[in-house]
């Protein structure tokens, strides 16, 4: 039967989250994509882990609380409504970990997951290459057989926080004769090893959010292959699907943004154009729609359904919504909107502009929205590929 209230246990869990997070939320951090900020965020991650808040949905053995999917959504709501900072462990715990849980050996799980959750070992994604962006199957980096492992050679790019991380995960061509999706293998590879050069790349907002990674005969032992050799594409797809889906952008962060937007509107409505009120209301309803859509999806997942291509709908929605939320805020701020986080005259510390810049990446990363629309059209609506 439908029940849109949380159970007493869930409410108790929410209460526990809320109390701890509000008591411990750090303030005044720099961006986690700067060297200084990264260290601050690292501390925060370690504190989360020490209190078993880092990976609530994971088994206790790896530092989690065995929280259910609904509890995880509750945690996320409380996390962002408390004003807690972005997760620098995200690429590990939300992108890599689900794949390890699904395809990893016991040895890999035991070796990798706990240090990942504890932020002792930090993971970057290494999906893209200069000529494999939207066209991910065009990967050219290769892995050559050698004693006890393989030698990786090639170039990966747009590795999120690659300049600060210890390892990365990505696809390499193990069968040089196979084309496109075939002959690829999913590797975990070191970023601080012989043959690896990491070059930080500044994001739009000036933070060192990206890295280019150059690999020349970098040794990776066989134990760092995830899933079967030459099956990397299919292993990776399970990750990109979680990337687009629930785990990447839970409703909590947008609810928090909407609450801040409403607050901003109340402070600026004396001077703001009356038409902006409607934009604020619409943005707030958008976040409600996203929240309830997510509970609907989560219920289906709990019931054992596979979400699959529908996660593309989710990604289209939140990425557009996030931009709308921030554009509305910037319109309210008017000519002060150009001030960024470095400026103490900035409204709300420049968070809106920072957030706007981040939101603009939403329709690009994790598969551009153009690719997502293709997926929705072809796999959900059944339109012909060609």
């Amino acid at each position: 039967m439908m029940d849109l209230e949380f159970s007493p246990q869930q409410e108790a869990f929410r209460q526990e989250c809320r109390e701890w997070l509000r008591a411990n939320v750090p303030r005044g951090y720099k961006s986690g994509d700067t060297r200084e900020g990264f260290q601050q965020h690292l501390q925060w991650e370690q504190e989360l882990f020490a209190n078993r808040w880092a990976v609530v949905s994971w088994p206790e053995a790896y530092g989690g609380r065995d929280a259910s999917l609904m509890e995880w959504l509750i945690f996320e709501e409380e996390y962002y409504l408390a004003g807690c900072p972005p997760r620098i462990t995200q690429n590990g715990i939300f992108l890599l970990a689900p794949t390890i849980f699904e395809y990893g050996t016991d040895e890999q799980k035991d070796r990798i997951l706990r240090p990942m959750a504890a932020a002792e070992h930090l993971w970057a994604q290494g999906w893209s290459e200069p000529n494999a962006g939207s066209d991910l199957a065009n990967v050219k980096s290769s892995a050559r057989r050698t004693d006890g492992g393989r030698l990786l050679t090639g170039q990966k790019t747009w590795c999120t926080r690659g300049a600060f991380c210890d390892s990365a995960f990505g696809l390499f061509r193990t069968d040089p004769d196979a084309q496109r999706h075939k002959g690829l293998t999913y590797f975990l590879f070191p970023l601080k090893a012989d043959g690896v050069t990491v070059r930080g790349v500044e994001r739009l907002d000036g933070d060192l959010g990206f890295a280019e990674v150059f690999l020349e005969d970098v040794f990776v032992p066989d134990q760092d292959v995830l899933g079967e050799v030459n099956q990397g594409w299919y292993v990776a797809m399970s990750t990109t699907s979680s990337e687009r889906g629930l785990s990447l952008r839970s409703p909590g962060r947008f609810m928090a943004t909407a609450a801040r937007l409403v607050d901003l509107y109340r402070r600026s409505r004396e001077t703001a154009d009356p038409a902006l009120r409607q934009a604020v209301i619409q943005a707030w309803i958008d976040t409600e729609a996203y929240r309830w859509y997510t509970f609907q999806t989560a219920t289906r997942m709990v019931d054992g359904h596979n979400i699959g291509a529908e996660s593309s709908l989710t990604k289209l929605f939140w990425s557009d919504m996030d931009i709308q939320l921030h554009e509305t805020a910037l319109s309210l701020i008017g000519d002060l909107a150009e001030l960024d986080e470095g400026s103490d005259s900035a409204v709300d510390g420049g968070d809106w502009l920072k957030g706007y810049q981040f939101s603009l990446a939403g329709p690009i990363y994790a598969g551009t929205n153009e690719i997502q629309r293709n997926i929705v059209a072809e796999r959900v609506l059944g339109l012909p590929r060609k």
Partner: protein
């Protein structure tokens, strides 16, 4: 937290869908454009034999004693079929103000009493030709008036709507129900219309997807063109995100939640916006064929246009949400 319908609710929906697929195909809808009542009496009788008009009527009055949540998918199915019947007004809205009126409730259950309804703030009410009674909803209750049959005074773009000016009826009729019933009735009107719009949208989208797969231009189906794909993906997106707001509001009404009215407003906003986008997209992807009255799409589209302004416009409901969420300190978080 469990956001899914029960097996029973889904089975009821499927049964209604099956009935409407067989009894209310587009040709039957088309007849209601021409006939004297603007309705499809046979279909209404068959729905009554499945218990649909009496879903919200208490068992004590012969109904099924179900909730808004049980009925919301049924209304959506009626929208999918573009059923030209006062399902929202008679079966969803009216029972809120007819508590204890065993006679009328019994006739609703039997399918022999069709009540049309509208908020007193609205200029028009629909089904003036084919409904037996009119329920005007004010602040403190409803006013009931008998309709003589053929009372339509104006013409809607949707020829089965048969609207009349509300003005002449405002003062007339019995006073029924109370303020709480009136609030419930208004919320049900907005929500039922939202669900109906989602059904209309789902149907328009499906017809368009089917057309885009079949229609060949430049040597391939137009649905293989990225522009068409992206139009349809965007339309599906709005529609799929309207659903949870509609279902959530139905749950809130069924469970008598204090914010249920707010939830109904959000549902109407999203359903209005989704239906408008889907209509535009459906017409554009069809091209000229969709622009004729010979093709069925236009009946769905025109119903959607008409319902967008009924039981509160998008602006009305945005404003209502704003009053409660944005203008009131301490609410949004």
């Amino acid at each position: 937290m469990r956001f899914a319908f029960s097996e029973e609710q889904l089975m009821f929906r499927d049964a209604v869908r099956d009935l409407l697929v067989s009894e209310c195909p587009p040709d039957v809808v088309r007849q209601a454009w021409e006939n004297s009542s603007g309705r499809t009496a046979d279909v209404w009788q068959k729905l009554a034999s499945q218990g649909v008009p009496g879903m919200l009527v208490p068992e004590s009055a012969g109904g099924l004693g179900l909730t808004e949540l049980d009925m919301i998918l049924v209304i959506e199915e009626c929208g999918r079929a573009a059923l030209p019947e006062p399902i929202v007004e008679t079966a969803f809205v009216a029972p809120a103000l007819l508590v204890g009126d065993v006679d009328r409730l019994g006739r609703i259950v039997a399918g022999t009493l069709a009540i049309t309804a509208a908020p007193a703030t609205q200029a028009l009410f629909p089904f003036a030709d084919g409904a037996d009674e009119l329920l005007v909803i004010g602040d403190h209750g409803g006013g009931l008036a008998t309709l003589p049959g053929g009372a339509a005074t104006t013409t809607s773009v949707d020829r089965s709507r048969r609207p009349a000016r509300l003005a002449g009826y405002m003062a007339a009729g019995d006073q029924v129900g109370d303020a709480a019933g009136a609030r419930l009735a208004l919320n049900r009107g907005a929500l039922g219309t939202a669900a109906y719009l989602v059904g209309l949208g789902a149907s328009m989208l499906q017809v368009t997807v089917d057309y885009a797969k079949d229609r060949v231009q430049f040597g391939k189906p137009i649905g293989a063109q990225q522009a068409v794909k992206h139009h349809l993906a965007n339309a599906l997106n709005r529609l799929e995100f309207a659903r949870p707001l509609v279902y959530r509001a139905a749950w809130s009404l069924a469970n008598d939640k204090p914010d249920a009215g707010l939830h109904c407003s959000m549902a109407k906003v999203y359903a209005n916006q989704a239906a408008r986008l889907v209509s535009r997209t459906a017409l554009q992807c069809h091209g000229a064929i969709g622009y004729t009255t010979e093709y069925d799409l236009h009946m769905w589209m025109k119903r959607a246009w008409a319902l967008e302004g009924s039981w509160g416009t998008t602006a009305d409901h945005l404003d209502r949400v704003g009053t409660s969420v944005v203008d009131t300190p301490g609410r949004a978080a």
